[in-house]
């Protein structure tokens, strides 16, 4: 059984194999466009139903109706990211680029840890030739500042991982290892940090290339955000 939350905390149990009712989820989100949780759960349902274009249309209207909602733009960007694995290689680039513009709008409206982390991490998926890793590092460093000023949260480990990946993409492996080690002190059991710290050279390259493979679905489920509040 998969649990999908909609509306004001209504819990709907959807039998495995049964398609979620996107209309209900859309109605809930329309009523509360800045609700990061509703947006995330809607998108996970879209992934299940493969209704990517419907989702893009829905978010296009949502941000048009609510142009100051930072989280609506954030989820709109994620909706593009969600479609990437099922797209051709050139369309992937177009989707990723469009997602970035929505992430930027989200940060402009509502600077947040999730906004900087999301955009920063997205830059890391771009091949080196596009020279976008440094932009990712800038965002992730900002993200790091925000989380150091905040109380510790479980999802903060993601920034340590991604920032290290950013340094690695900028060919600064010692700095990458440094930030991963810093993260590992706080999150000693994190498997992704352990994996990175146990690898070097080609083995590390293969690992990170695999992690940042645009053909693989990126986990855009944001449940950690509200669960750690």
């Amino acid at each position: 059984m998969k649990r999908i939350l909609i509306g004001t905390g209504l819990c709907v149990l959807v039998a495995l194999g049964a398609m979620p009712d996107l209309s209900k989820l859309e109605a809930a989100l329309s009523a509360d466009p800045d609700n990061i949780r509703y947006g995330s759960e809607y998108r996970q349902a879209v992934i299940q139903t493969k209704e990517y274009d419907r989702s893009l249309k829905f978010f296009e209207k949502l941000v048009a109706d609510h142009p100051t909602s930072g989280n609506a733009y954030l989820n709109y960007g994620f909706a593009y990211v969600d479609k990437i694995p099922v797209a051709g290689s050139i369309t992937q680039v177009i989707l990723a680029n469009t997602a970035l513009s929505h992430f930027s709008k989200s940060i402009e409206l509502q600077p947040s840890w999730i906004g900087y982390y999301t955009r920063g991490n997205s830059y890391l998926y771009w091949p080196k030739i596009f020279n976008r890793a440094h932009l990712g590092v800038e965002d992730l460093e900002q993200c790091m500042k925000l989380q150091k000023a905040d109380k510790p949260r479980s999802y903060h480990v993601r920034a340590y991982i991604a920032l290290g990946d950013g340094y690695w993409k900028m060919d600064d492996t010692p700095r990458a290892k440094g930030i991963w080690q810093e993260g590992a002190k706080i999150y000693p059991n994190n498997a992704q940090l352990k994996a990175r710290l146990s690898k070097d050279g080609d083995e590390l390259k293969t690992y990170i290339d695999d992690v940042l493979d645009p053909n693989k679905r990126v986990d855009t489920d944001l449940h950690e955000i509200w669960e750690a509040q």
Partner: protein, 582 residues
Amino acid sequence: MFANKRQYTKAFAAAVLIGLACIAGGATVLGDKWFEDVTRRAGVANKHTNRAFKNPYAHIMAGYTALGASAAVADYDGDGFEDVFVTDSMEGGKNHLYHNNGNFTFTDVAEQAGVANGNDAHNASSDSLWFDYNNDGRPDLLVVRFGQNQLFENLGGGKFREVTRQAGLIGYKNAITAIAFDYDHDGYVDLFVGSYFQPVNVFQPETPRFFPESFETANNGGGITVYHNNGNGTFTDVTEKIGFKLSGWTLDLGHGDANNDGWDDLYIACDFGTDRFFVNNGDGTFTDRTEKAIGFDTKKGMNADWGDYDNDGFLDIYVTNITDDYMREGNFLWHNNGNLTFTDVARENGVHDTGWGWGGKFFDYDNDGWLDLYVVNGWVSAGKESYVPDIFTMVTKPGIDFADARNWPPMGNKSLSGYQKKRLFHNEHGTGFKDEAARHGVDSVKDGRGIAVADFDNDGRMDLFIANANSEPYLYRNTQTTGNHWVQFLLEGTKSNRGAVGAQVRVTAGGRTLLSFVNGGNGFGAQSTSRVHFGLGASSIIERVEIRWPSGLKQVLEKLSADHIYKIQEGKAKTELLVARR
């Protein structure tokens, strides 16, 4: 662990033998290089030059037409040695007919043969194909061109005459590939031509809107044209009549009998979009089975070669696509499921990443009875600066019209997926492939296009002729020293088409049965030998040979010695050995 001393002794002896074998094997692996670059010594080093266009889009087109280097193999004069026709593409550039002198040197006889002039202001050679369209036993020559194709009838005595008009093959095409097989089993090979651009005059285009409308689903290309051979020296365009109505950006065509029903099916590799798979219905028509057979892809298909790489009795297909840091498509190794469906197993077999792939050919270079794979690659190897950011700046512009050439950024001296190393994948007895290109010295970084495989010195070891864009070709002589046995068959149809194109051969030796067939030009930018070659490993005797001719006749031969080139005529019980004349 061991029940008795005898068992222990046996196990110990086996371990020692395995150890010795590993040492011996190790020494071989480390020391031996099995291909020798003999290009210059052989006299075939003439450089290919890309076409430079003289039109308003020339600065853009230069980057997108780095094509036209090709090589096609046939024994055009019947002297028992395989010759090779090689194209140039620059205006005024001469095509080459390299006559094999029998001692691994060649003489360019294109001028005296009358087949040198394939490039002028209105036509650029892009590929070539040998096929015996009139069943006179002499391979004729089609020069595939952006512009008008040329058909040359082989008159014998080293002379050719152009018969394009008489044959009914006049028609503007931006053709890039051609194969010939007898799709309807009437005894004459038919002609399948694949075109890249739609039939606009690319030398002086009247509109700028002739570039691909999409990177993934473009349908404004040249498609394919099928010419039925009427058996009287003429052809008729039957494309739509027999089930083809395509407008993709065709780069390669490959035929083979996917379900062993005796009728050859067709794989169409397309740039900027979906490859196609058509099933031959056996009644002179084809059905598009793309969705069920391979699904709809959005990749950049460049090559379609058929071969039974896993020796399961069904022909598989290898298709190259683009795999680079900025575009991770991966090639297809379509494993034939035997029911007109295929499964891509490229990744698990280690042959998915060959960079910007072009020609890919199955062949058994060490005669161990398992088809290996050579793949050439690289688009444009020029300056240090990369063209990738330019192209993606265009791609990400909202609402851009890709079909308009004016929107495409000029490439200048920038590189795009250039300087890529070629791959020679050794078939590890059906368990996957291992790249041995560096070991054997065939890992050049030129912009490879076509791979022609042939045994140029009749020694049973398959050699390679590689056509490179804007560069000299490579002729690699196979000098492998395994001592593995081999056999080749040169087939001649009587009821079937005389070149026996489409004939399947199953050889049983050493307890296994291998499958191959006479192909009519499969593989991008090249045509390999029409002889059917098998590596036999340690087997010096062939227990059984079964030939399934296109006519339907099944012919069985038994107890043949290995290490010979056999000439076999359809329906004739007696075999002859090929006698080569220097």
